[in-house]
């Protein structure tokens, strides 16, 4: 009788104690094993043993089953990219310059749209025969089904007449036959390849603005960087796609960490002058250096607040490198950090301007910290390794930075770009297995990151999409470091 009770209890326990598991396989297995063992009066030992083993097995399996919920990878986005077809533009006049300019235009437009990161470009080999130069030429049924299966079609014409180039471009929703036109534009400029490239950039930006949800394109943005190709390390500038590289400063010593102002009118950087490392200011309106106070000590890595009214930088004027904030004119110096150990590389929250992230060595190796713009609420973000070069995403939610997660003797020590979500403190690695990657900087649209990498053998500037894909080298000659993407 006592046995019967005990058995009953155990049977009930094994059957009913996991109602929440919802793992049918276990339950079914259990139910069968219990029904097989319980009512029978075979041998007590085997009954108990099988129940006990079943119990342990169930718990182990249950933990494994629950574990699956947490190993899930979450890269699924659920929304496909727009399939965009961009046939070459048709010549609208008979001018001999048409061919060259058409090539420049078509290549630039294609690259801009391809680089935008929001389109799936339909390969040109899938396109139906015949050029599309005007809305009347569009055969919807040829574009909106396979093989092109395009959702959107960019087409138009380009013609040179009398030293001017005229471009007409359209964006059509080819799945929507009744009202297909999304965009129609006409541009006119002098018939040079530079002007034609600018037209292509502008048209690409219009398309990206419409289809990318109101985020302006970056085709006309600039990247500033440090290059040694003139013999000294000076500040250079280039288009976002690596074209049109030219030197900005001629200090003649060493210039580092260029930071363009939010309105694009000025460039702050640090340079080695007679009194040491000082913050320098270059004006694009005057095309020369303008006066900026010298603070003494080593002053490095200036950073503009998003309203353009303040600069944060690190200064060792009191001995230990600390973060300071000054007005854009250089006045009203305020010290933000006061803690033993170096504090360097400040950046502002680009969305709100209410927070500063920086690198501090107060616990030993450099780590990324954030604080409010008044110096309160200091929080440490990284918990190990060697983390430097924070760069705040334009929407304020993310921080890109360079991180050697396992630093020290015997550690692999890969230096890669990481992205951290500030609200959840989750991070994702963007670069893998390719030299030292450092100095990330965000594009204005927040979809791209420019960074410095040594994977090609020397320090060069690279860009990638913010998910780590589509990595491209922009510079090839000399040593090029510390890129900074313009604000718009």
């Amino acid at each position: 009788m006592a046995y019967g009770n005990l058995q009953m209890r155990i049977c009930r326990f094994t059957i009913y104690s996991y109602p929440s598991l919802n793992w049918m396989a276990i339950r079914r297995r259990f139910a069968t094993s219990v029904s097989r063992t319980c009512p029978s009066t075979r041998s007590r030992g085997s009954t108990f043993r099988s129940i006990f083993l079943g119990l342990v097995a169930a718990l182990l399996l249950a933990s494994a089953g629950l574990a699956q919920d947490w190993i899930r990878t979450g890269t699924g986005l659920g929304v496909e990219k727009v399939r965009l077809a961009v046939p070459d533009f048709k010549a609208s006049t008979q001018d001999p310059k048409n061919a060259d300019l058409s090539k420049v235009f078509n290549d630039t437009l294609w690259n801009d749209l391809d680089n935008a990161g929001i389109f799936e470009m339909v390969s040109k080999s899938f396109y139906p025969l015949g050029l599309v130069g005007a809305p009347a030429d569009v055969k919807f049924e040829a574009w909106n089904v396979a093989p092109p299966n395009a959702a959107m079609l960019v087409f138009g014409n380009l013609g040179v007449s009398g030293g001017n180039v005229t471009v007409q471009g359209w964006l059509f929703d080819v799945k929507n036959i009744t009202s297909p036109q999304v965009l129609g534009k006409q541009y006119q400029d002098t018939a040079t390849s530079d002007a034609t490239r600018t037209i292509a950039h502008k048209f690409a930006d219009e398309i990206i603005f419409r289809l990318g949800g109101g985020v302006a394109g970056i085709a006309e943005s600039k990247i500033f960087f440090v290059s040694s190709r003139s013999g000294h390390r000076e500040i250079w500038e280039m288009d976002y796609d690596g074209n049109n590289q030219h030197q900005i400063t001629h200090v003649g010593t060493i210039s580092l960490s260029p930071r363009v102002s939010p309105d694009g009118s000025r460039l702050a950087f640090s340079a080695l002058v007679k009194t040491g490392w000082e913050i320098q200011m270059y004006s694009f309106d005057l095309n020369r250096l303008v006066a900026f106070p010298r603070y003494g000590g080593t002053n490095l890595s200036p950073a503009w607040s998003p309203d353009g009214l303040k600069l944060a930088f690190s200064s060792s004027r009191t001995g230990d490198p600390e973060i300071y904030v000054v007005d854009a004119s250089g006045g009203n110096l305020k010290r933000m950090t006061a803690y033993p150990g170096p504090d360097v590389s400040p950046v502002w929250n680009r969305k709100t301007g209410a927070q500063i992230s920086w690198v501090s060595g107060r616990t030993g190796l450099p780590q990324i910290y954030t604080m409010e713009a008044d110096g309160t609420n200091v929080q440490r973000l990284t918990d190990q390794g060697y983390a430097v070069s924070p760069a705040w995403h334009p929407n304020g939610q993310y921080l890109a930075f360079s991180w050697i997660r396992h630093y020290g003797p015997g550690a692999p020590g890969a230096d890669d770009i990481y992205l951290m979500d500030l609200a959840s403190k989750q991070w994702v690695q963007l670069t893998h297995d390719g030299g030292r990657n450092d100095f990330p900087s965000w594009s204005p649209d927040g979809r791209h990151v420019v960074f410095q990498s040594s994977r090609s053998g020397s320090e060069q500037i690279w860009t990638m999409l913010a998910d780590g894909t589509n990595q491209k080298q922009l510079t090839f000659s000399g040593g090029n470091t510390q890129p900074n993407w313009s604000w718009k």
Partner: protein
């Protein structure tokens, strides 16, 4: 002493049972400890210590373009349009079982009540096709003004109202942009991780002429506050959808968005 010994002797030998009981208790305790060690419940502490590096809500955000989802998604704008009408399956009519009358022996025998057509489930009728139906796979911009997206098991969808009611068909590309932006800004990790399943939450908002979302409000709550909040925040996180199409004459469009959550 002796009395006690007698009491023990009176009973059937139960030492073996006791041993089994103790053994099982120990086994259960060990199993529970094992479970707590193996189970990954304590994921709160080691946020930066690896493991979680590849699963990250970051990937849902608009400004970070993500690798295309290999799983097929129902992008009604680009493909598989079910036509302009009949896009939503008809809800199944609930069948009310006929009540069984309690037999009353005193009462006169009544003729058996005739079951009316409304009480009985109607026989399946051939669906009449509307004249303006766009057959499956033969064009038509959207399945009506309705769009559906899914993000890692969770789902959302929306309907547009405003203008002449044809906003969704005229500006399908804009509808797509809205769909994409909302889905990308919905961070599922904001939802209480204990929730596995929830009712659909309905949100209403306007899109102003310059593309900003406005008047975000919960039309029907899911009953899970964190899910409601995450849906509202998805919209608050969006600065702009881009200006409304220039051909559109109205000042704003109203959008009804729903979110289905399933872990």
């Amino acid at each position: 002493m002796a009395a006690n010994a007698e009491i023990f002797l009176e009973h059937a030998p139960w030492g073996r049972n006791l041993a089994w009981s103790a053994g099982l208790h120990v086994a259960f305790t060990v199993a529970v400890i094992l479970y707590s060690v193996i189970s990954p419940g304590g994921h709160g502490a080691g946020w930066g210590a690896g493991g979680g590096g590849d699963a990250i809500g970051v990937t849902l955000v608009s400004t970070v373009p993500l690798p295309a989802n290999p799983a097929p998604t129902q992008n009604v704008l680009a493909n598989e349009s079910k036509g302009l009408t009949e896009s939503q399956p008809k809800p199944e009519e609930a069948t009310v079982p006929d009540a069984i009358p309690i037999p009353d022996q005193n009462a006169k025998k009544k003729p058996k009540p005739v079951v009316t057509a409304s009480q009985r489930k109607p026989p399946p009728q051939p669906v009449e096709e509307a004249n303006n139906v766009v057959p499956f796979g033969q064009g038509g911009p959207v399945s009506g003004p309705y769009g559906v997206f899914s993000a890692g098991g969770a789902k959302g969808g929306f309907g547009f109202t405003g203008g002449g009611g044809d906003f969704g068909s005229r500006f399908a590309w804009y509808v797509r942009v809205v769909q994409q932006k909302v889905s990308e800004n919905w961070l599922k990790y904001e939802v209480d991780p204990g929730i596995r399943d929830a009712q659909r939450v309905y949100l209403m908002f306007d899109i102003t002429r310059d593309g900003r979302p406005a008047n975000v409000q919960i039309e029907q709550s899911s009953g899970v506050p964190s899910l409601d909040q995450s849906a509202v925040r998805a919209l608050q996180r969006i600065d702009t959808f881009g200006p409304l199409p220039s051909d559109y004459s109205g000042n704003k469009v109203s959008v009804e968005f729903w979110f289905d959550y399933k872990r």
